[in-house]
């Protein structure tokens, strides 16, 4: 049991990472990784949404009519996304970041990781493992987001969390700020991940 729980938590972060292995959630990982601050807020938001939606759907799993289960899942996920958005808008420090992330907070609802984990895991498992599975998938997503944002902010603006780290003479690389570079970076991360993990390599 303990081993299974450990797998539930660690698998989405490493071997079954939603971005690098399942290749889900690419759109937002290209869009919100220009700055670490935005990426961090996005990561936390997605972790909250995946975790809580999985928990709620798992609690409801035996009562949901099969024919409308996708719609019910959508309603639950939409509620979580709106809650996150409302809370971000109410915080003085997060208001500006929420405006900067603009549509992408709302678009968490279309992030395949959320619905994917509910369909694949939460509907067939007990609430606590479902919550952990949701959170872990959110963490796996957020981890990649932060790694990508780290490189993009460092080389694209010469800063980290808005603080200047590279010497003042550094000329920011404009390609790094554009979404295509995030895709290149993501490709490199997938490459490194597969090179290190023999199980992921195809024949």
């Amino acid at each position: 049991m303990a081993q299974k729980l450990k797998d539930t938590i660690l698998n989405p972060i490493l071997k079954g990472n939603p971005i690098t292995v399942l290749v889900l959630g690419i759109c937002s990982s290209l869009a919100v990784t220009v700055q670490l601050k935005g990426a961090l807020v996005m990561a936390i938001s997605v972790i909250a949404v995946t975790g809580l939606s999985s928990l709620v759907c798992s609690l409801l799993r035996n009562t949901i009519p099969n024919r409308v289960r996708i719609i019910i899942q959508l309603v639950v996920v939409a509620m979580m996304v709106i809650l996150v958005d409302q809370i971000l808008k109410a915080g003085e420090a997060t208001y500006a970041i929420d405006k900067q992330l603009s549509v992408y907070i709302g678009l968490i609802i279309t992030n395949c990781i959320v619905m994917g984990r509910i369909e694949a895991f939460a509907l067939g498992n007990k609430p606590i493992p479902s919550l952990l599975d949701g959170l872990a998938n959110g963490v796996g997503y957020g981890l990649i987001l932060i790694v990508v944002a780290f490189f993009r902010e460092l080389f694209g603006s010469g800063t980290l969390f808005g603080l200047q780290v590279l010497p003042a003479g550094y000329v920011p690389n404009n390609l790094v700020i554009l979404p295509p570079f995030a895709l290149i970076l993501l490709g490199c991360i997938i490459w490194v991940h597969r090179a290190l993990d023999k199980d992921l390599q195809e024949e």
Binding site: A31, T63, I64, P65, N66, R67, V68, I71, I72, V75, V76, A78, M79, I82, L83, Q86, I87, K89, A90, G91, E92, Y95, A96, K99, S102, V103, Y104, L178, P179
Partner: protein, 263 residues
Amino acid sequence: MNTNSNVYTVIYTTIVVAVVSAVLAFVAMRLGPAQSANAKAETLRQMMSAAGIKPTEELYATSNADILQLYADSIEEAYTIDLDGKENGRLSTAADKIELIDKLKPQNKAIKAGSGATLPVYIFKGGIAVIPIYGAGLWGPVWGYVAFEPDCHTIAGAFFDHEGETPGLGAKIKDEPWFREKFSGKTVEWGDEPAFRLEKNAEATGATNAVDAITGATMTSKGLNEALNVWFKAYEKHFGIAAFFAALSQHEISEETTQNEEE
């Protein structure tokens, strides 16, 4: 229980939707005051950024409470005008009474209908006049604040914002400081058609009332151009006359000085 029967499905979905709406309504009510305080501070930041009270970055690094204080220190008066350019109301200069951008939509309609508009003018210390603009972008509303020098002719600064323009394209009207900075020092030619041009290759004509549209954001630029011109037209009678008198008195002063020199 048969969870697949029609009756069950209908009742189940109804309950789920009712519960979800109740939760969301409750949360929206509880967080409403905090959100509107943030929105007010944001509006003040945008206005003061346009008026050049402080650099935009500094304004965004300032806390809400300090922004309210800064506004109270720098605002001189605020009033509304009708489409004939006559003053038709006073606005409170208290920071928590500031009109949010959702007030601009009905005004936009009133301008287009040609009557019933109460258009705000904010006068900051030093005679800088700030007016809002509002219009439709590609995906949603675009708006902004334009500040005029005391001659009512030269633009002192501008700030633009949007609800959901494409990040990296239309969103540049807000995200790229160089775009709004281009407006500083430009002029609005009151009475001309159009009074201002935000168009492709407009800067190449050498006109002082022209700024190049953003490449790749044609619809956003078009929408912003229309918003600017519709609102400039609405303020034309107010600022056009003021600009005329400002230019006249300037002319008189310079004539007087030449006379003095001759003497």
